[in-house]
């Protein structure tokens, strides 16, 4: 069956809509918006903490990345362009230097009563993102916008449909495989007239994604599969389809989101699948062709000061990339929601689990209760295993917030974490990391404009009996003092102290003893209207950096960081 060409359809509608709105354009003066963001690093080599042996520390000394967004809207027209600049940047790969600049994104769109037509680099999401999410996350240099066209049609006030087609962005180029998608989303109010409105509602949706591999990508798969023995061989297909059905059911204060997603069989790398070697032995890691599925549900209640959210998720073989040869955060088509609390304090965020794409079963419960205007308590529990029941992650998090007459506020709690470092960081033979982290955050308002905030955290970690040390980097103590003068200035001084060094802590080259090092940080922030600048001196230990379950291991950093952001 021949495929309808969505690009042709979009062009026809674009021409049509341009003619019918020209009169409206004369009355609308339009609006111009923009944004600028820069992060510059001045690298100071510190071999003791592992901040060395990349070009930035060895001889470049400076690296930066900047983005300038410009957009203009008028009479339903929407155009935008973004200029991206990377100068010896370590953002793409923390161990390498990357220099490039150019137009990182552009788009042009037009909305009418019934249609929205868009071309260029397009961000979008289907449901919770399980089968498709094109988004930008600058902290990890994720920008997997679709370079293509999208047509949205408003069927009526409650229903709309959209179709899109294109290729995934890859920095200043794009990946070769093609993608196309279609979504139908609606809203149904089932509340009887007697009960009023919006008591019982549904927001169903169905989405489908198709991916077609280009000849080059298929050739690379064939190159791999042909090296396998017969028992491991499979016949790859060019096309993969993924579909998702999702719905939000709302009944008064109760909201229930469910999503079921499936993916047809496609080739992907499974690091645990056993490959038969030519000498008859087997070893893990090979390309396989399997179908995948994700089931996700979230039940929440909010009312009378009580908020409860219960979540569950099951993932099987849902590695969905434009090219199966890509790894880590490259070429991901979808986004599977994380099932743990997104922590922000330095030590409570130290061990965060990356979402597992091939085998994961997870549960999370979050309860918050506001006793009165002064006191709020909350607790969170998450538990993640693989599909064989092996524990990957467990977190228990409690928090109490007490506000006293707007003069001061204290927040504190306890976090308990079990973290499978062997799976999440590929560190061999290490036991599951076990941490206990009490924390307290105290805010005191000195005057209407001046305030002082302090944080104290202590991370106590378990023992690695085999190694004869504390696990990983050992115990940590963290302290922060932040002084703010509203609305412009903020000053911060903090230190993360490796109070009891662990197995991976640096060693004194002379004595061979593990070193209890300080990792200080000094920050100055200045805000003026929609502009924000910061200058920081940072000494930072190696750690996992996560954004919404997408994580990567960041090496240690030593040096100065300057940031500027502005929107207009």
């Amino acid at each position: 069956m021949k495929l309808i060409n969505p690009i042709l359809v979009a062009l026809v509608f674009l021409l049509f809509s341009t003619q019918i709105v020209s009169q409206e354009a004369q009355q609308d003066k339009g609006s111009f918006t923009g944004g600028f963001q820069n992060s510059s690093n001045f690298f100071i080599r510190d071999s003791l903490i592992g901040a060395f042996d990349i070009p930035q520390y060895d001889y470049q000394h400076f690296g930066a990345q900047s983005w300038l967004d410009l957009g203009y809207t008028r009479s339903g027209f929407d155009i935008g362009v973004r200029f991206d600049v990377f100068n010896n940047s370590n953002l793409r790969n923390p161990n390498q230097s990357y220099t490039a600049n150019g137009i990182g994104r552009w788009h042009i769109g037009k909305s009418t009563d019934k249609f929205d037509i868009r071309a260029g680099y397009i961000y979008d999401q289907i449901g919770s993102g399980i089968i498709y999410r094109a988004y930008e996350e600058r902290a990890l240099l994720i920008d997997n916008a679709l370079k293509g066209v999208r047509l949205t049609y408003k069927i009526n006030d409650n229903w709309n449909a959209r179709v899109f087609a294109g290729q995934q962005r890859n920095l200043f180029t794009n990946y070769e495989p093609n993608m196309r998608g279609a979504v139908l989303e609606g809203y149904v109010d089932l509340t009887s007239e007697k009960e009023g409105s919006k008591l019982f509602t549904l927001a169903p949706g169905i989405g489908l994604i198709g991916k077609t591999l280009d000849d080059g990508t298929m050739a690379s798969i064939v190159d791999i599969v042909k090296t396998y023995l017969d028992e491991d061989r499979f016949k790859p297909t060019h096309n993969t389809y993924s579909g998702s059905f999702y719905n939000t059911l709302t009944f008064g204060p109760i909201s229930f989101y469910t999503e079921a997603a499936i993916k047809t069989a496609e080739a992907f790398n499974d690091p645990l699948a056993l490959k038969t070697n030519r000498d008859g032995t087997t070893s893990p890691g090979k390309m396989v062709r399997e179908a995948g599925s994700v089931y996700y549900g979230s039940l929440s209640y909010a009312g009378n000061g009580l908020g409860v959210t219960l979540e569950a998720k099951r993932t099987e073989n849902f590695e969905f990339r434009v090219d199966p040869n890509l790894q880590l955060i490259e070429g991901l088509i979808n986004f599977i929601p994380p099932m743990n609390r997104q922590n922000t304090y330095r030590l409570t965020a130290r061990y965060s689990p990356a979402t597992q794409l091939l085998s994961e079963q997870a549960y999370q419960a979050d309860v918050k209760y506001r006793w009165n205007k002064k006191l709020t308590t909350s607790a969170n529990f998450s538990y993640i295993t693989d599909l064989d029941g092996n524990k990957l992650f467990q977190e228990t998090y409690t928090e109490i917030i007490y506000k006293h007459n707007r003069k001061w506020q204290i927040k504190g709690g306890l976090q308990l974490v079990d973290y499978n470092q062997e799976v999440y960081e590929q560190k061999t033979g290490v036991p599951i990391v076990e941490t206990v982290t009490p924390y307290v955050d105290f805010l005191y308002k000195l005057s209407r404009k001046k305030s002082i905030r302090t944080e104290f955290q202590f991370l106590a970690i378990g023992d690695d009996e085999k190694a004869g040390f504390k696990q990983d980097y050992g115990d940590w103590l963290f302290g922060l003092v932040e002084f703010s003068i509203a609305p412009h200035w903020s000053f911060g001084v903090s230190d993360m102290y490796n109070i009891t060094p662990g197995k991976l802590s640096p060693t004194d080259p002379d004595s061979g003893e593990k070193l209890a090092l300080h990792y200080p940080r000094i920050d100055i922030y200045y805000t003026y209207k929609a502009n924000r600048f910061s200058l920081s001196y940072i000494k930072q230990v190696e750690g996992i950096v996560c954004n919404g379950g997408i994580c990567r291991l960041e090496p240690a950093f030593s040096g100065f960081n300057f940031t500027a952001s502005s929107s207009f």
Binding site: N277, K286, Q327, G429
Partner: protein
């Protein structure tokens, strides 16, 4: 309701792929020309996935006997010894080669003839996916041989000094400056290896082979000849004084010499031809 129905029809039409012509997987061929291929395996004792790379290399050596020469580069990244290691395979030379072959994403990584395969990013010659190494060797082994390298060694047991004579002979006219590279490697070293990627933890008695121990040429190779004509012979002689045997390391019977010549006018690669000989 008709709109919803139309939308559904559109979705179905857009997604429909019907049946597609199945891709034919060809058989692997190991019929090669006389050219010998160089594999530089970037590896490390503390690299949990590196044994997968070594398995891939062993597979290649078994399938292409005599057509492939391997050098294991234990540079710096993930190469620190384990707590119960007897040896430290890291060296300044290995680190220099590791840096010279950048950019690469991680380990294990390999270069095959330092060849910039068309699907790799510009300036990149490394192959991070171990599954691809074998097929890349299959591709390169169809390349006609353009020159021959013969290695002669003369080892003095008393002084532990080896004289290495490398004779390069042109088989087709080659233009541009050719450069000779000479590595010393050692095999059959039994020492711990992180094998977490195989689910085996630390393997205490892992056999490390083809470990780069020294580099007798410049990092970019030594000047060999400006142009090479058919049957023209160029001889280069190197001397190497081997360190004293230490705890099972630097055993002459395990030492090998690897020589390779890079393409005319190139200082890094691609490699035209490689050769291997025992040092004793």
């Amino acid at each position: 309701m008709k709109y919803q129905f139309l939308a559904l029809i559109t979705i179905v039409l857009l997604m429909s792929g019907c049946t597609e012509t199945m891709v034919v997987i060809p058989e692997l061929t190991n019929e090669c020309t006389e050219k010998v291929i160089l594999i530089e395996e970037l590896t490390g004792v503390s690299c949990p996935n590196c044994p997968k790379g070594t398995e891939a290399v062993d597979d290649i050596l078994a399938l292409f006997p005599g057509s492939v020469v391997v050098v294991g580069i234990h540079g710096d990244f993930l190469s620190e010894p384990k707590s119960d290691s007897k040896y430290d395979f890291r060296s300044e030379q290995a680190k220099a080669v590791e840096d010279f072959l950048k950019p690469w994403l991680g380990k294990p990584t390999a270069t095959v003839d330092r060849f910039p395969f068309p699907d790799l990013p510009e300036g990149d010659i490394s192959l991070i996916n171990t599954s691809q190494w074998l097929s890349r060797v299959e591709q390169r082994c169809q390349t006609p041989q353009s020159l021959d390298i013969q290695i002669g060694t003369d080892y003095d047991e008393e002084t532990r000094q080896a004289t290495i004579t490398v004779t390069t002979t042109g088989m087709v006219p080659l233009e541009g400056e050719l450069r000779m590279n000479l590595f010393i490697t050692e095999s059959h070293l039994i020492d711990p290896q992180d094998a977490g990627g195989l689910g085996q933890g630390i393997i205490a008695d892992y056999e490390h082979n083809h470990v780069l121990k020294d580099m007798l040429s410049e990092l970019t190779g030594d000047f060999l000849v400006s142009d090479l004509s058919i049957n023209q012979e160029v001889v280069k002689t190197y001397t190497y004084e081997m360190p004293a045997e230490n705890n099972g390391e630097w055993l002459i019977e395990n030492m090998e010499v690897v020589a390779f010549v890079t393409e005319g006018g190139q200082t890094r690669g691609p490699v035209l031809h490689a050769a291997l000989a025992h040092l004793d």
